[in-house]
């Protein structure tokens, strides 16, 4: 029980961190990374719910199967999102919004 709780809460904190970063940062790369951290947290929670101490019965295979496919799908979605972000930067004349706020205009609000 305590093991499940530790892993679930870790996943939850990862999810929260990713969610916060997703909202406050405007740079696409940071958003993609944030979504990745969020999905890792969700996977951790899903696997933790399927955890059963050794010798107390079989594992729950359904969350495991879902996470298994989910990891591969999230990798491919990340790749597609990165390429889309690269295309946006290539085709737009101005630099990406996140970069401006990092450099010259530090006072500018992220809103």
């Amino acid at each position: 029980m305590i093991t499940t709780l530790i892993y679930s809460l870790t996943g939850l904190i990862l999810f929260g961190m990713g969610f916060f970063t997703l909202i406050i940062h405007s740079h696409p790369l940071r958003k993609i990374l944030a979504v990745n951290v969020m999905s890792t947290g969700v996977f951790l929670i899903l696997v933790a719910t399927a955890y059963i101490p050794l010798g107390e019965g079989e594992i729950d295979p359904v969350p495991h199967a879902m996470v298994l496919t989910g990891i591969v799908v999230s990798v491919s979605v990340t790749a597609l999102a990165l390429i889309l972000a690269c295309r946006i930067q290539e085709t737009s004349n101005s630099s990406l919004p996140g970069r401006k706020q990092q450099g010259e205009v530090p006072e500018e609000s992220i809103r």
Partner: protein, 235 residues
């Protein structure tokens, strides 16, 4: 956030409010996880009861390719869609040919790539009775592909594009074909005929592992094969 400054940029009012809200959400979700009654898997018994009909011994593989095969079929399609999206957006960029490959790197690739293919094949075969299967095997195949890609072997440019395309759709086609075959035989989509589930699952898994491995490696390459310089259509 400034990277060069000594201290991080202070959060403004909106961000503080947001931080507070996110912390509230996390605490609420944490309370939900805390108060959820201890792990009492509901579906474990259901899976265990139907295990003998699935044709495989590993419960995860049985769920993945038999009980919830429809899910997996669609996820394999998502992978294919990701490659199609990537290929339609950009061309793969590779440095010009002629760069020396260091002997250490070459030796590592020579040593590792065949072993990785072997491990991938073993994992796919092992999926029927232990942990393993198409996705794990495909991930290792993808890693082998990435290893070969970063080495920039000159042989990469001579791979015909058609074979890549066939490899990409092999898994989805085998999966769809099996599903339709089962539809004709038993009347259910992906309802494997009695006794034939084992080898059908192995067939689908083998095809999917090849496709997943190729998908991951080609996503790493990041674009469609460039017609002029690399991967040109050799007869």
């Amino acid at each position: 956030m400034s990277r060069t400054g000594k201290s991080h940029k202070r959060l403004d009012g909106f961000q503080r409010l947001l931080l507070l809200l996110v912390i509230c959400m996390v605490m609420l979700l944490g309370y939900i996880i805390w108060s959820t009654p201890g792990s009492k898997p509901v579906l474990t018994d259901a899976v265990a009861q139907m295990q003998e009909y699935s044709g495989v011994e590993s419960p995860v593989t049985a769920v993945l390719l038999n009980f919830r095969g429809y899910d997996t079929l669609l996820e394999v399609m998502v992978l294919l869609l990701a490659v199609i999206g990537t290929w339609s957006l950009t061309e793969a960029f590779f440095p010009v040919q002629g760069s020396e490959i260091s002997p250490v790197q070459m030796g590592a690739v020579r040593l590792l790539a065949p072993v990785m293919c072997l491990v991938a094949a073993y994992l796919v075969w092992q999926g029927s009775h232990l942990a393993g299967g198409a996705f794990q095997g495909g991930a290792i195949l993808g890693a082998a592909g990435v290893l070969v890609l970063v080495t920039e072997l000159p042989g990469l440019r001579t791979i015909p594009v058609l074979s890549l395309r066939i490899g990409l759709v092999l898994g989805p086609l085998l999966f769809t074909g099996t599903a339709l075959f089962c539809l004709f035989i038993t009347g259910d989509l992906l309802g494997y005929p009695k006794g034939a589930g084992g080898w059908m699952i192995l067939l689908v898994e083998t095809g999917c592992a090849v496709s997943i491995g190729l998908t991951l490696a080609l996503l790493f390459a990041g674009g469609r094969p460039d017609k002029e310089s690399i991967w040109k259509n050799n007869p």
